[in-house]
């Protein structure tokens, strides 16, 4: 269980003023849920994720994971970045095994586990290749496998599929949904795409910029159906889906400075 309480992050801007990237945000991420944060560029989504990952200190408030305060990066929170951060000098399997290496797992054992995970993301045949011989989508799958290898309590994903073409993106969404259905891992997922948010989230939170706040929260169940059927078509044409999508779109495109919802 991840609990975010009144979290604020303020950056000093170059002109001396303060940027309220996050303003008193509270959010719970329960086990077995996928929380997707969606919002316009600059509304503090990455700031929120980086604070949970421990890359960024909070100015105010607290973040607790299973009752423990977060103040630095750690292996209990797996991160998948938008840009892949694989090590070019290590083979794909050793990249996936990196976290296990840090945890002191012996070489053969960690490679065996890494191969299982590569199998899970459908890249078993690429285990011994260097990462730069893989396509962007494949690298993102390796990044996902690497984050899963140490079995973290929560998975943090900052626009992981943002740079992918729409076909690859859909495959990756299917993969994530099926992995979630199998492992029940709690996930925080960040995206620009409202459709992606609704397809993947059990909970969708909408954020607004300046100051960065959560302005609305929706419960959605489409990901269960998606994980089962692997077919996005019927979901996209579901009247409930369309209604939610339009509601969220209206929220995001509402002109700034007109007050908040709720």
């Amino acid at each position: 269980m991840l609990q975010i309480r009144d979290a604020s992050v303020t950056f000093p801007a170059s002109d001396g003023s303060a940027v309220h990237a996050l303003d008193h945000v509270s959010l719970d991420i329960a086990p077995d849920s996928i929380v997707v944060a969606v919002g316009a560029s600059g509304c503090g989504k990455s700031t929120l994720l980086n604070a949970i990952a421990g890359f960024l200190p909070l100015t105010e408030g607290s973040i607790m994971l299973d009752g423990e305060e977060i103040d630095r990066p750690g292996g209990d929170r797996g991160v998948v970045f938008q840009k892949d951060t694989l090590l070019p000098w290590a083979s794909v399997v050793d990249n996936v095994a990196l976290g296990l290496k840090f945890a002191g797992v012996a070489k053969t054992a960690r490679r065996e586990r890494a191969r299982e995970l590569l199998d899970l993301v459908g890249l078993a045949d690429f285990a011994d290749k260097p990462p730069y011989e893989l396509s962007g989508g494949m690298r993102q799958r390796v990044g996902l496998a690497r984050a899963l290898a140490t079995d973290p309590k929560i998975l943090l994903m900052d626009e992981p599929f943002g740079a992918l073409d729409s076909l690859t993106r859909e495959t990756m969404q299917q993969l994530l949904a099926s992995i979630w259905a199998r492992t029940g891992k709690q996930i925080l997922f960040i995206t620009h795409s409202i459709e992606e948010a609704l397809t993947l989230g059990t909970t969708v939170v909408v954020m607004s910029p300046r100051p960065g706040r959560i302005v609305a929260r929706f419960e959605a169940g489409f990901v269960r159906e998606f994980a089962e059927t692997g077919d996005i078509g019927p979901i996209l044409s579901d009247p409930n889906f369309i209604q939610l999508r339009e509601e969220i779109r209206a929220l995001i495109h509402r002109p700034a400075g007109k007050g908040t919802l709720q």
């Binding site: 840009k83 090590l87 840090f102 730069y132």
Partner: protein, 286 residues
Amino acid sequence: MTLAADPRAVFTHVQPAPKLRRQLTNEPIKSVSSGTLLISTITLLALLALWFVATQLGWASPLFLPSPAEVLTQFHAVAIDGYADGTLIQHTLASLGRILVALAIGVVLGVPLGLLMGLNRWIRGTLSVPIGLYWGLPPLAYLPLLIIWLGIGESSKIVLLSLSTFAPICFSAQAGVRSVPAERINAALSLGATRLRLFTNIILPSALPEILTGLRIAVAAGLSCLVAAELIAARSGLGYMIMSAANFLSTDVVFVGLILIAILAFLFAIGMRWLERKLVPWKGKI
């Protein structure tokens, strides 16, 4: 000749041109480097031919420009009988020994200090001042000072050369550490890396390409310092041989020395390329 005999023959007329085919299959395109190799070889031969013609037609007096044949004869003579208190091999080994020792000192001191400077603000702030100060000076300007301090023996030359190889290696190691992408470090930390693991598994390999670039610069700086120092103060080495020959206007021996230094520089360049291929084959990827 029947087409059916060799099934591949049927398709020969639709196969793409060799150049195109090489791009279609994934084999590396070598034509770029071998293409320049051919051009460079031709240029080199043309220069040699020009040299030959110039001396043959007497464009310049042999005192200024000895003929290739004379240089070759001298080469042989210096190699066997020696010149300026040593054979060619001895002079070459003396020079080579100096630069290798200086490179070793530069690496042993420069890499760890550079890494520390990259990691720690205080060390960087403190050390960058003296290193920056002396690195800005032309080495030959402070060679006299080194000779006053250390005498005219080997030590003043080794110190001079080590100073010239140390700075580029140190600065590049520092730059290598500073250029590690923040996301790569964050990724490692969220995979549970300790500080030591972060350094050995992430920062050091990330900095390696930069360190090798620094080594390349160090080789060039060391070579130019080496010969200059030997011209001024030495009892052996290719620079010393060249200077002695020049004093007696033995231009042909000067040429022998120059050619050997050129060969030495060329071999170092090949060695560096080999080292990069061995250590950082992934350089520039991702």
